[in-house]
Amino acid sequence: MAYVTVDEVVREACADDGDTLHLYSDYLRYGLRGVREITIKYGIPLGTKSCMLPILRNNTVDLPKDYVDYHKIGLLMRNGNIAVLDLNPKMYPNAEQDSCGEGEASLILADTRSPEGIGAPYYFHNFYRNGRNIGALFGHGGAHNKLGAYRPNIDEMAWNIQLSSNIQSSHIVLEYTPNGINSEGGLTSINEFGYESLLYFIKWKRDESKKSVSLGEKLNSEKRFFSELDLMKRSLFAFGIEELKAATRKSFHLSIKN
């Protein structure tokens, strides 16, 4: 899958409209706004990023600046796979700070097996019914992940992920959708499938700002953008035959019963 730079699309849009570099800054603003809108508003990741982030003393991980939404939060295992952590929205975000304003370490078990208000005796009691040990624990829910749990803690002040204390690693792996904007001064790049839709987004916004363009033409540009957006969606999320085969094989694995 190739990537094209926004700079390339913007220059193309300038040339299409018969303009010179004198309007590059206008077109660039539309281009970057297009990347942001396509990614955030229409939910199409024009690129996905993966990074290793260090776990801080207070069991939190600072999110990258261009973070929009996560796909996967997990730990890198020895076999090279990413083992995902458990989402626990009930987890308390650790707001304790020391005198320097640094997050303070505190114990957060965030065990999904502990329902509120019910203490440890519940487990032992529940194993027995009518005086018999029934050999299983009912009524408190499953899906506990022994690797640990996370809770995205996204607000203006705390732009981080809260983790439970039992994670046995110094880093987590975060796969996320970036807003697509390279804020460090380099080149912003997008998936090549997004080339035409970004070009038409720029054209649409440029037409909207022109007094001399008729309403019909403006509406036509808008329509062209949305039709290109649809085409891009279809190309991006196309399901390949190998993916189908892999999914089938996986479902066979799942179907084995003891």
Binding site: T5, D7, G18, H22, L23, S25, L32, G185, L187
Partner: protein, 211 residues
Amino acid sequence: MSMTYGELTEQILRRYYGGNIPNDNRLQSEDLNYVICNAANYMIRSNLYQQMQMEGRRSVDPLFIQTFPNVPILYDKSREKYYFDMPATPIALTRGLSTYEISFMIDEECSFVPLPPGWSAMSKRSPARNLEGNIGVMLEGLKAYLIVNFERYADKVQVLLVKMIGSLKTINDDDIMPIPDDYIWEIANMAAQWLKDPESRPDTLNDRKAD
């Protein structure tokens, strides 16, 4: 064959006097310079607006472009910015179009991006402020400030290549007119007419077409 500035001056005088130039010619070269300059600038500007109306394109005929190599880069200590002085007086075209292209001497592929006035403040928090790595140049009167991404080249480059549509004020008698030949006839006519009847000069403000 392209015409020199001196030849054009002579042609205008002949047209003004209806043939031979008399010995007691009262017209000074300063007067002629002034009208030629105005006529040529008017022609260039109307050419741009004609093209914009006909084709919807914001472009100028490349035949009007003057090339100035080796324009020195200077440093403004008080503003801590690199800049250069315009090698000619630009004509007032929209969006600074008269400063057509600014680049390094050899690498014309990476020509600089001309920025609108107030860009620095307007783009302060915008991701577009880095211009995707391109060098940004802002025009201020007869100076051009290199305000975005230029610092890393500052110690390697001393001169620039500037292509612009400048006013003809700086042209000498022996210089070739930077105007296509088919415009010379119109310029000569227009200049002669203005000398005879100063009232017929076009109103540059009200004749200007909408952008």
